[in-house]
Amino acid sequence: MSKVIIKNLSYQYPLGDENALEDISLKINKGDFLGIVGPNKAGKSTLCKSLVGLVPHFYNGDFSGEILIDDLNTKNHSISQISLKVGLVFQNPFNQISGAKLTVYDEVAFGLENIGLPREKMIERIDYYLKLMDIYDQRASNPFEISGGQMQRLAIASIMAREPDVFVLDEPTSQLDPQGSKEVFNAIHKLSQKDLTVIIVSQKMERLAKYTDNILLLNQGRVIDYDKKEKIFARDDLEELGVRPPIYTEIARKMNLKNDKSYYPINRKKLTDLVVKKYGQNFSK
């Protein structure tokens, strides 16, 4: 379990006209489940890439500031070293498949072979994470022949199996149906219960509202807000900033239903409770 500290991070891609990230400073506590939201070009993916050291080691460009994963400064360590502590799952699972292995089972093993994990432990972990992500039945299939959703589950399992301290996921459920998305979030949540810091970019606000502790709101590479999810989703300017609040929050806003702390409810249960409180038991029926 690691603490992440970002200090004055700014970054511009080599061919970029403006900074993709602009003076970002924040601290993510050990064991936090953080959601990152923001419109296109907000810098969400770039921030994810920075956390694992791809920025600045893989992408060149102007980088300033620092990211500390515990005592490890990402600027001074190689991606291979950082990736032992930080796992990153990309948006596009197709490109996360190594291309070096012919079965789903071997594909998960790829990242474990590279870090020299003993064979017995490898098998234990592969079995566990394939089952957790519900693709154990596909273990003998070719990684490129499974569906997009299964590929996304495989990509997540491949990184999870490395058991990093910090788990960064960039839109990990973009190709999953609502049920699949729910299952993946449940699996990630289950892992977050045991010593894992999770940082997730997602457009699925209802899921973020359910599972995360805090939300980081980005816009044009800048931190607009970083706080408890209830506080972020209660912002009146959220839609102006290109972020759709959870549906329950939208309904509550239209009905002007706020809780004792003057926040709109962010999930169905809290909304129902407020409705019942205001309109009485019969309303819920």
Binding site: I79, A109, G111, M122, I126, N142, F144, I159
Partner: protein, 255 residues
């Protein structure tokens, strides 16, 4: 989307032999007829290879390959039979073309060597899974990056062909003609190749990142999911093959 390997999955004694033993055999089988350039040695290796392929239940797969080179072999017999430098003993004449014993024997030697090489490589190609062969080599010091390149070729080419089909379908759905005479096909090729190359470049870039975040370049000693169990019998088999090779070299030096 399948891997482009020619491996034939059969349950045979030959399939059970480990890739390194087969590689050693390949080396010995290909080189030996050159060390002792007699028809007898080449014939022995051809016969042994045929027996191995039959035991491996893959002999049928070799017939088309041999048929393919048959035309070239016939040409060698005609040319060498008539024009070989050492020709002196006439064998027969067809119209005004005379064939000589020395030329035909020389052609037979070349043909047997060529067939021997084909059969030997067929053994390794048809009875060894490429992934296992590459892994065996990486275990013995082949740089993992080179191993990855060899490995990915088997996967990436079918993947590119699948992407090409998707792009072609997309172009067709927008009304582009892709079937017809040569000129139409050539015109259809241009809008295909641009997106295909761009797509492949982007994918390669992202895949290289994916490899990095899974510690592909890590300096740690790699481990392997698949256990490599080499039975004692294989060690003896390797020893026998190496001894045969040494005997062949000694034979050449002494005689």
């Amino acid at each position: 989307m399948r891997s482009i390997s020619l491996y034939v999955d059969k349950d045979s004694l030959i399939h059970k032999i480990d890739p390194i033993t087969k590689l050693i055999y390949t080396f010995v089988s290909v080189i030996s007829p050159f060390i002792i350039p007699t028809i007898l040695v080449s014939s022995i290796f051809v016969a042994v290879n045929m027996i191995i392929l039959t035991l491996g239940k893959v002999f049928k797969k070799v017939i088309p390959i041999i048929s393919f080179v048959f035309f070239i072999i016939i040409t060698i017999f005609i040319i060498q039979g008539m024009f070989y430098g050492g020709n002196s003993t006439e064998l027969f004449s067809v119209f005004s073309l005379t064939f000589y014993v020395e030329g035909l024997f020389y052609a037979l030697r070349i043909a047997l060597r060529a067939i021997n090489i084909l059969l030997t490589f067929s053994i390794i190609i048809l009875t060894v899974k490429p992934s296992i062969l590459i892994e065996s080599l990486v275990r013995r010091g082949l740089p993992p990056k080179l191993g990855y390149v060899m490995h990915s070729v088997l996967q990436i080419i079918p993947m590119m062909s699948s992407t090409a089909n998707t792009i072609m379908d997309a172009q067709k759905s927008r009304g582009m003609e892709t079937e017809g005479n040569l000129w139409i096909r050539m015109k259809a090729f241009i809008p295909l190749i641009g997106p295909l190359v761009m797509n492949s470049l982007v994918s390669t870039h992202e895949r290289s990142i994916a490899l990095e975040v899974r510690s592909f370049s890590a300096k740690t000693q790699k481990t392997f999911l698949n256990e490599e169990k080499i039975p004692a019998a294989m060690k003896y088999l390797r020893l026998v093959i190496i001894l045969i090779f040494i005997a062949i070299v000694v034979w050449r030096v002494v005689l």
